[in-house]
């Protein structure tokens, strides 16, 4: 891998140098990091780091299956296995390492494998067909990968044997190892720690392992993954300095004891260390390639942080992961219920993050790594780094703004924050694929991608280029842009809008969206001007479609207050048309089971009795609930019912990006539950408190306090502004809670806009909402009085008197209900 990367980097810098590569394996370079995916269906070609023609295209001579067997340093020549020789000016060792095979008696028996090359994997998968139990010696990164591969090959009884007292002894601590062990055991792996294999049993082929503590374990197959051994034998043979425990000694320029010879990757020993990760290897390749082109780079110690997903389990470690008291302070969060273990090591002065370990949930890894590497000052409560900020949401991407430009975001490819941001500001990249192509960030292990995405979005925003929120294939605008355009051009029907601003024929996304905008702007009867066919399912017939095909009828009952006479009317209408009645959460009554054909006559009767449409079917004001209030209740501070009625009658009929609901409570006991409403009002001694952006539904959220002790007029003025701001700026089908959650600056910003008029739009909004209020008409009244609209309320065009015969009802508790969906 590192050899390939060197060629890639050299060729990207220069086309001079006659470059020849001698490879021992029969294949061109492939991704050894993702080796186990070979068992998941990835082919050797998929894992290949280059295309077949790449070497030829780059003017590199590639010899496969043809390693160098001897080096003559004096003559500066190499000799290959087939007896040919080649002269060199510069020689680079990128021979990597092989699997370390411990000297255990019986190791030569059949059924024992190492886990290194694709050839090894082919042998393993062939043998695995006959194996029932398998063991892996080595509980480090590679051993756990090998164990996963064996499970994937169908060997259920797979064990991991580790010499040390814990798994992944170089990356994680004892507690982390315990957590990892329990998670692996849950997946069916058997883990044996503190086990030293003394003998491999079997006649010719392996049947069991025998340990130094005299216990033994059955095994049909053994994979050895107990470490790596640098391939330095060639260097040693020709007199180049190697380390006592192997590895070709190099300096910070990757130069060996021979000035014409260099070594990079896992075969190199730098400052007493072999770097067994891809990222430092690539960095070494970069150093050498740069220096050969008259540059001046040096390799220095490299951060060995890693984040992996082993068998679906996140394991990460970074910085000084093992440092402990008294040299630092540790913060540990262990959650056995969720299977997570997080440890961070903080400097004694509490200022800096030194290192840490994450198991089970490594989502904080990128940020923690950057915080440690860049020595970013820690917040007062550093435990929040692993617990997550509680109490109030943290603005997304807040951490990345504090990173310096030099912060290394992608360590595999050496891409800094500055590089990524520049690819956007100067390189014209506008999406993640462009950034990847341009900077190569994320093309190695892929672990940095979340951070790269955050940086992309952050930089685009800073440029004023927001990520365009186009509504659908028919309109190349966001909802907000479309709103302004429809306003400016005074378009009044969906057809006009589509012709003027859109393309092709529209769809079920843009039709309701445009209809909503038209309603919010002009407040014209929604079934006129051909707009009926652009309405959503319920608005189309001014009623909520129900299971079975019937509709429901909901007359408005402002504030939840109703006279006995009106109750009787509802009862009689229900009886006459055989409707099911139920009290709703909105403090009114719902009538179910109406045939489409009957809707106009039902509403005629309700309207004659003084009712109007309740808009239960619309994306606009639903209800303003109330508690009993000061008229009857001994606790009531003010007349909540009157205020609720006033508010409901003010905003009835107004349409918005989504439904909105309100309530007025007469005191702090809050019987009307105003704090769960889009806007809610609670009486205080001195006036009304106004709360905004609460929602129920699947993710309920409480409303936040906008203003206190308001008089009724001011309260209404603020609500006017709040509603128009919402209508104008929200994304499609967004409730007020989500709208606020997405709002930069949150409630403080909203308060500033509404109360302090920070956008200078208050007057305009008050004017606009006044127009909507004064143009209000009950749309059901209009529908029943308009023959053309009324005509649509029949099921069959060629039999308008007949009702839909497929609608069926059955009896339940003395009323009717619709028959169940037919089994599909």
């Amino acid at each position: 891998m590192v050899g390939y990367k060197f060629c890639e980097k050299l060729r990207s810098k220069t086309s001079s140098f006659n470059l020849i590569v001698f490879g021992e394996e029969p294949r061109r370079a492939y991704d050894r990091v993702h080796l186990s995916e070979y068992f998941n269906g990835k082919t050797a070609d998929d894992l290949s780091l280059s295309t077949e023609n790449w070497y030829q295209e780059q003017n590199i001579t590639l010899f496969l299956n043809n390693p160098v067997v001897k080096i003559d340093r004096e003559q500066q020549k190499v000799y290959t296995g087939n007896g040919l020789d080649y002269a060199y000016d510069i020689l680079v060792f990128a021979t990597g390492s092989g699997a370390f095979v411990p000297n255990i008696p019986g190791i030569e028996k059949e059924g024992v494998f190492v886990y290194r090359t694709l050839e090894d994997l082919d042998l393993i998968s062939e043998y695995a067909k006959k194996a029932k139990t398998a063991s892996v010696i080595g509980g480090g990164l590679l051993g756990l990968e090998a164990a996963k591969a064996l499970i994937d090959l169908g060997i259920d009884k797979t064990s991991i044997i580790e010499f040390a007292p814990r798994l992944m002894p170089r990356q994680i601590d004892a507690a982390g190892s315990d957590m990892l062990k329990s998670k692996l055991t849950d997946l069916g792996l058997q883990i044996h720690l503190n086990k030293n294999t003394a003998n491999i049993e079997g006649e010719g082929k392996i049947t069991a392992l025998k340990f130094s503590d005299d216990t033994s374990l059955e095994a049909d197959m053994l994979v050895i993954s107990a470490g790596i051994k640098p391939r330095d034998e060639l260097a040693k043979a020709c007199g180049i300095e190697v380390g006592a425990r192997g590895g070709i000694v190099v300096d910070e320029k990757m130069q060996t004891s021979d000035p014409a010879i260099f070594a990079i990757g896992e075969c190199a020993l730098f400052d007493g260390m072999i770097y067994g990760l891809v990222a430092p290897g690539y960095e070494m390749a970069e150093v050498l390639a740069t220096n050969l082109c008259a540059g001046n780079k040096s390799f220095s110690s490299f951060d060995m942080s890693t984040k992996l997903k082993l068998i679906g389990i996140d394991v990460a470690s970074f910085g000084d992961n093992f440092i402990t008291e008294p040299d630092c302070r540790t913060i540990i969060f262990e959650n056995k219920h969720k299977g997570t273990y997080k440890r961070i090591n903080i400097s004694n002065d509490g200022q800096h993050l030194l290192g840490g370990i994450l198991i089970g949930d490594a989502s904080a890894y990128n940020m923690l790594l950057q915080t440690a590497i860049n020595k970013i000052a820690l917040p007062d409560d550093p435990e929040e780094l692993i617990l997550g900020a509680r109490g109030g949401s943290e603005p997304a991407g807040a951490g990345i703004t504090s990173l310096p430009d030099s912060a290394l975001i992608c360590s595999c490819e050496g891409v800094s924050k500055g590089d990524i941001c520049a690819s956007v500001t100067d390189g014209g990249c506008e999406n993640i694929d462009d950034v990847k192509k341009c900077t190569k960030a994320g093309t190695g292990c892929g672990g940095c991608m979340p951070m790269v995405k955050d940086l992309l979005n952050y930089t685009l925003k800073a440029q004023g280029k927001y990520i365009k929120n186009v509504i659908c294939e028919h309109f190349n605008y966001s909802r907000q842009e479309l709103y302004d355009l429809i306003h400016i051009h005074e378009l009044k029907s969906y057809d006009e809008v589509l012709t003027a601003l859109g393309e092709n024929d529209g769809c079920e996304i843009c039709k309701p969206l445009v209809s909503s905008i038209l309603a919010s702007l002009w407040n014209e009867m929604i079934l006129k001007k051909g707009n009926d066919v652009a309405q959503d399912s319920n608005d189309r017939f001014l009623a909520n479609i129900q299971k079975g095909g019937s509709y429901s009828v909901v007359p408005r009952v402002p504030g939840g207050e109703i006279t006995p006479e009106k109750l009787i009317v509802i009862g009689e209408v229900a009886k006459k048309y055989g409707l099911y009645t139920k009290i709703t959460g909105g403090q009114r009554i719902d009538l179910f089971g109406a045939h489409l054909n009957d809707l106009p006559v039902i509403w005629e009767e309700l309207i004659a009795a003084g009712f109007e449409s309740g808009h239960a079917y619309g994306k606009g004001l639903r209800t303003v609930k109330s508690c009993v209030g000061s008229t009857w209740c001994r606790f009531g501070l003010h007349d909540s019912v009157s205020f609720a009625i006033r508010i409901e009658e003010r905003y009835r009929g107004i349409r918005a990006p989504h439904k909105f609901k309100s309530a007025v409570s007469g005191c702090i006991r809050e019987c009307a539950e105003a704090q769960s409403k889009d806007f809610g009002i609670i009486a205080t001694e001195k006036g009304w408190n106004l709360y905004v952006c609460g929602n129920g539904g699947s993710k309920p959220q409480h409303a936040l306090l906008l203003a206190t002790d308001l008089d009724s007029e001011t309260c209404i003025k603020y609500i006017d502004r709040f509603l128009m701001f919402y209508i104008r700026t929200a994304d499609p089908l967004t409730r007020t809670a989500t709208w606020l959650n997405k709002m930069e600056g949150g409630i403080d910003y909203l308060r500033n806009v509404v109360i302090n008029d920070s956008l200078g739009m208050a007057k305009q909004w008050e004017h606009e909402i006044e127009k909507l209020i004064s143009s209000y008409k009950c749309e059901w009244k209009e529908a029943v009085e308009n023959p053309a609209i009324r005509k649509r309320f029949s099921h069959f065009v060629n039999a308008p008197e007949e009702k839909d015969p497929s609608i069926e009802f059955v009896e339940m508790r003395g009323q009717k209900r619709t028959a169940e969906w037919k089994i599909v």
């Binding site: 024929d505 309701p512 060629n798």
Partner: protein, 116 residues
């Protein structure tokens, strides 16, 4: 489809149809959704029953297009179907029946296959 292989059901007058929308045609026990896609100057007809939950509702759905394919979205759960082929565009395996349509002398006719 020629006249010899189709019975033509007189569905309604052109002015009874809904522009850029659908109406439902009764044919014995069957219900047929008839769409007048005015923007495309085309007529389409399909079964009225949505195969998803077997509701007689497609005639009440919004019509539109996906790239160039005309479609209808069922009002219940917004499953979409090609008005040309009846194929489900929402990725489910169910397709709907389609029928030919012709207009003569201001009357809209839907072609009913004699075998069905």
């Amino acid at each position: 489809m020629t006249e010899t292989t189709n019975n033509w059901l007189a569905a309604c007058r052109v002015e009874d149809a809904v522009e850029n929308g659908g109406v439902c045609v009764k044919h014995g026990e069957e219900q047929i959704a008839l769409f007048y896609f005015t923007r495309r100057n085309e007529w389409y007809a399909t079964q009225n029953e949505c195969p998803h939950k077997k509701q007689m509702a497609l005639s009440r759905g919004m019509i539109g297009s996906i790239t160039d394919e005309p479609k209808v979205a069922c009002p219940f759960h917004k499953k979409t179907f090609s008005l040309n082929t009846g194929e489900c565009l929402s990725g489910d395996e169910c397709a709907i029946k389609t029928y030919p349509v012709k207009v003569e002398n201001g009357t809209v006719y839907v072609g009913i296959n004699p075998k069905s």
